[in-house]
Symmetry: C2
Subunit: 244 residues, 2 copies
Amino acid sequence: MPALIPNISVDCVIFGFHEDTLSVLLTKRVLKDPKSRKIIFSDYTLQGHHVLEGENLEQAAVRVLEEKTGLGNIYLEQFHTFGDTDRLANEKDWLWTRMHYPEVHRHVFSVAYYSLVDSSRFKPDQKHPDAAWFPVKSLPPLGFDHNRMIVMALEFLQHKLRREPVGFELLPEKFTVTQLQKLYETILDTKFDKRNFRKKMAQMPYVVPIREKLTGKAHKPAQMYIFSKEVYEKTKTDNNSFIV
Amino acid sequence: MPALIPNISVDCVIFGFHEDTLSVLLTKRVLKDPKSRKIIFSDYTLQGHHVLEGENLEQAAVRVLEEKTGLGNIYLEQFHTFGDTDRLANEKDWLWTRMHYPEVHRHVFSVAYYSLVDSSRFKPDQKHPDAAWFPVKSLPPLGFDHNRMIVMALEFLQHKLRREPVGFELLPEKFTVTQLQKLYETILDTKFDKRNFRKKMAQMPYVVPIREKLTGKAHKPAQMYIFSKEVYEKTKTDNNSFIV
């Protein structure tokens, strides 16, 4: 592996959605005393790594995502670069960094990306034993400035969801109206009236009903839908409107 | 001045508006042969510089803006970080860089910001003789990947203008409906029907008429308006709506 660039990293806020919970994928970080092997501390961080020599920024983000989750070809968008001088000022972050990456500088600039997955697509396994989903509403203590990154990523996601149908990245391929409504309610942290939501949905030509119904014991069969990117691209307008 | 960080820079896309033209502030870059003082080439770049040791990223952007224009307290927003390995691959960019900043690395990551000013507020002067406004629609040849930066900054500006009243940063304090309409038309590269635009404007409670009229020989006196941030903050809603 080429050397890492000692002052540039990428961090990925990987959002997952399942049932009615929006989660973030985190990695457990454990610092052990090199001699006694006793645990000094443990906490969680986002999936991240330094950019390598000769690597484009975007490539680094894709690499981190694939290495840490095995997931390829998923939604990934750069949203902000964090560059305060005190990002590694917390003693445990600096201790951990020095022990694992002695070449790293004290002032690291981190380019943050967020990505969206149907969280049932990724379950932490033997290859990724330190990864775990945590609900956005009950995060564990996080290293570095990763809490701030998640807060900002969520704002970007909410903004995006109001303007573009990115939420579908978070749903299974086939979904019900109820699932779609829960997704919007969870991310926007609000409630929609069921009838009003169905009216809004009726105005989304790219949400296409299919010949299949979800059957279950407790409910009457529910119509399933898919999202058509093709229809979305053909029907989106709105380019010359503006909100007042 | 502290040493510069050899692989991290900031670049500012400074948009200015006047009459019906959207412009970008550029700096002339001249490379002379060190011995003969003959000009090897000249072109233009955005306002940019490396981040300095011990400086926060945001501070660097503010410093660049102030040093290059003298303008303080203006709208400034980070929009993207450019980190391809070939950003300095063009021979003249690399030559210029080596002659002026021999410590700079070949792979520089640049965090790009855009800012908005009423372009009549800044006129290139003796202190800033190399700065000049260029219409977005007729840019001169630019160094590095600065063309790409401007294209992307414009997309962010267009997006922002449709959602938030940032356009007012580009207008004089007091303006007419016609000026406001031209601003929207120019940035969004479209035409609005005059009556429809006035209807939209009537829905902006934060555009407040004042007791003053613009008088001129050719036209009948036109009502002047100001933008009230206070009214905007109090009246903005839209948080739970989403576009379909």
